[in-house]
């Protein structure tokens, strides 16, 4: 004998003929003896029958024509999309696009730089510097001059003999001398005033 719960679980298997022989016997025994389960069984049977009896619907007359039109439209759309892809290189991967763009940018940069260089004639020295170089008589030697950093050691004078004639950037700082001269003239001018006092 099976329980009401087990009976409930087997209703569809029984109605669909999917139940085993031994289980079917137990199911039918319960069906005979339990009024509640019998009511439930009949109710399920009625609902299945009502589903079977539902009227069938058929496609409308213009179904096939509409379908054909939609297929033609879709086919045209696919062809158009394929054509536009061919024109816009949509099939080319984005990495290739990136590389191409980088190459174009670099070459444009070089071309622009070259054009600008020709127009200005390169970097030019200021005119007063040019004059100095021409006055010194040796533009070449100026270019080749080595910029030695000579720092006077504390307590030792700078050896003037160590300067070569080419080394024109190293000049003796004479600003102090001028200052002293200025001081002297100042002293000369102030002295008579002191005298008056």
């Amino acid at each position: 004998m099976i329980s009401c719960y087990q009976f409930k679980e087997l209703i569809s298997e029984y109605l669909d003929g999917e139940i085993s022989y031994s289980r079917r016997k137990l199911f039918e025994e319960h069906l005979e003896s339990c009024a509640n389960c019998r009511r439930l069984f009949n109710s399920v049977k009625i609902s299945i029958q009502s589903l079977h009896r539902l009227p069938r619907v058929h496609v409308s007359e213009n179904f096939y024509l509409n379908l054909r039109n939609r297929i033609v439209e879709e086919r045209d759309r696919i062809v158009k999309r394929a054509r536009s892809r061919r024109l816009t290189f949509a099939g080319v991967p984005s990495l290739a696009y990136g590389l191409l763009l980088a190459v174009v940018a670099v070459s444009v940069f070089f071309v622009v730089m070259k054009i600008q260089g020709k127009k200005t004639g390169g970097y030019e020295l200021p005119p007063y510097v040019k004059q100095q170089i021409i006055g010194s008589g040796s533009e070449k030697s100026l270019r080749n001059a080595s910029f030695d950093r000579r720092v006077a050691q504390p307590g030792r004078p700078v050896n003037e003999n160590s300067f070569t004639p080419d080394n024109r950037f190293l000049q003796i700082d004479t600003s102090d001398l001028y200052l002293k001269e200025a001081d002297k003239s100042f002293d000369r001018e102030t002295r008579p005033i002191k005298h008056i006092k």
């Binding site: 609902s47 409308s60 509409n66």
Partner: protein, 199 residues
Amino acid sequence: MAKADKTRYKLTDEELIAMFQDGDEGAFEELVNRYADRLLNFAYRFVFDKQEAEDIVQDTFLRVYINRHAYREIAKFSTWIYTITANLAKTSLRKRKYRKVMYLSHMGPNEDKDFEIKDEGEFNLLEKDLRVDEDVVQRALDRLPEHFKTILILRDIQELSYEEISKILDIPIGTVKSRINRARLRLQKEISKVLKGKK
């Protein structure tokens, strides 16, 4: 070619789709003729709107036409086409439910009373309810959860085998059996509730 047209109806679905994959458009037409009504009934019981159901079936055939090369003979053609229709029907139903929710959310607090049916006691259909009209059954079907509704339409309206249903829904046969049983038990309850609400 005329001979091929005459013998086409003898071919299996799988042979027809293979011919269509090789470029025979006539094979596609034969498949449309075979499945149009079947799929329409399936979709119609799902959405209960003939125009919407026809659109779903047309979308199904359109997808078959475009994705014909996606079909592999490892599955039955019927399983493949029913799966497409079921997915489209479910999407359509969800869209409609969303629209309904949006509509209800714009209604006042007491305006949705007609949608409530009291759940009282045990419901059983009696012999006198044997001839339940279409509207009641459809309303009861609509009240079922989506997975119960799908399986009942496939089994009791489309009359597909447990094995085919198992493949279409991608669930084991054991689950198909138990789900059909639970869906039927729920349906009889829903039919009697709708009948009680009518009286």
